[in-house]
Structures are given as C-alpha cells and as structure tokens.
Amino acid sequence: MLRKLKRTNKFLVEPPAVATGDIAFNLIVFFLVCASIQPDSGHKQTIPRSETQNEKKENEPQNIEVQLTRTSVLINGATVAIPDLAGQLRSLFSGKTLPEDRIVVVKSQKDTPYRHWIDVTTRIEDAGGVITLQIEEERQVQLPNE
C-alpha cells in the first residue's frame, strides 16, 4: 500500500530583527547626504579682465551705457521700464553682428542691490549684449602739510 508521505518539517525563516536599527540609521544618513549635495543652478557670466581707463579716447566707438540705480534702469541716460529693457536693447543692436559692437557698459550706483543687478544684467545678455563693468575707483590722496 502506498502511503502518501506528508511533509511535516516547515522552515521558519524570519528576517533578523537585530539589524533593523542599523538599517534605519543607514537609510537616514544616506538620504541626508543625498539632500545636502543637491546640484546648484546658476548663470554663467563672462566679464572681461579689468583695465584702468583714465581718459576717453576720441576714436573709441560709442558703447551703449546702462546705468543702475537702487530701483531703476537708464539706457544712455533715459529711464526705461525693466520689462522693456530687452526690447529696447534689441532695437539698438539691430544691424550689429559683431560682439564688440554689442558691448554694454554697466554702471551701478553704490546702493544697487544684487537682485536688481542680476535681473538687469541677465536681461542685457538675453538681448545679445556683452557686459562690461565700469567701476569707479576710490583713491585716498594725502595733502602735504603746509
């Protein structure tokens, strides 16, 4: 007589609970590191090397001058609304294909905040302008004692 053998030995496999704390700790550290090394986003800007200019040369081509105050922008001395800046510059650049013809001299007042400066300079670059900074140098001159 054939008798069906019933398997009685059941294997009990349980995940080792001892390492749960370690696993949780490692996961926390891993995600913390991942969160802290998020890639930054930025805006590349090419600014030419500085040179000292004492006097304006006569034969020098006239560059567009953008002046920045704390809240406003002036193109060649005329106030422009910030949203219209790119459009006005594009019309001034029309017919100018060479980068040296599209130089924009940016002059900022001392109290111009960085957020305003970045907003304006990115708009100039979007319009196709090449930014050059004009920074006034402060010099202390000692007068001889008389």
Binding site: V18, V33, S41, I47, I118, T122, L133, I135
Partner: protein, 137 residues
C-alpha cells in the same frame, strides 16, 4: 592539584562590518567636501533660464551680514584675487569655474569689487541663483 584555565576565545562580531564600513565611507565623503559653506546664511537672487552650475573648486560667498567667504573661510577683499588664482592654479579654460553666491540684498559697492577680483584671477564666473519659476519658500 593544578586546575588548568580554559582559554576563552573572544571573536569580534563581524556581522556589523558592512554597516561600519558604509558609515565610515559616508563620514569621509562628507569631510572631503572641503568647500562646505552650508552653515552660512544667504538668500539667493532669482533669475530665469538657469542651467546647472557644474563642478567648481572655488566658491565665493557674501552672506546676509555682508561678510566675504572663500570656500567657507572668511577672507578680505584685498586677498581674494590672489587666493582664487592660487586655488585655480594652472587649470585649463573651461575648468576655472568660480561659484559666486551673493545674498540678494548686498549692495554694488560690496559685490562689484568681488566680480573684479574673480575676473582678475581668470575665473569663469557662475552666479548661483534660484529659479524664478520655482522659489523654494
């Protein structure tokens, strides 16, 4: 009668070796981030059409208290250009990226000499900004 001592075998548990190695690895990865300026407080300015800032070994930061830092260490404006030049060394063009992180309210009289110093040192300037479309706060 002399009772001989049975030597007890003590073994270091090697179950946790993997975990220990992993934790050490993470620890040294964090330490290796030499230019850590994450402890400094600054709010970036906003702009559109931003790209990835890429990799850089030089990070210049002006915090909300108007203090200047180079790779997390406070520095004076007069030393900045030379120190950047030193850090960039003879790196070829395209690998001379300098990250500039300026608090959005800092004034031109402070940040313009920094731009000049980076340009003097021959660095490729990348302004670290926040995307206008998705502000973090």
């Amino acid at each position: 009668m002399k009772i001989s001592r049975r030597p007890t075998r003590i073994e270091i548990p090697n179950t946790a070796m993997g975990d220990i190695a992993f934790n050490l690895l993470i620890f040294f990865v964090i330490l290796a981030r030499a230019q850590d300026d994450s402890h400094l407080h600054w709010d970036p300015a906003y702009a559109e059409k931003l790209a990835s800032a890429g990799q850089s070994s030089v990070s210049v930061l002006v915090d909300s208290e108007n203090k200047l830092y180079l790779n997390g260490q406070e520095i004076g404006i007069s030393q900045l250009s030379d120190r950047i030049e030193e850090l960039l060394g003879k790196a070829p063009a395209g690998k001379r990226t300098v990250w500039l992180k300026v608090h959005q309210e800092i004034l031109a009289q402070r940040f313009e000499p920094i731009l000049e110093a980076v340009s003097e040192a021959g660095g490729d300037l990348v302004h670290i900004l926040e995307d206008k479309k998705k502000p973090s706060k």
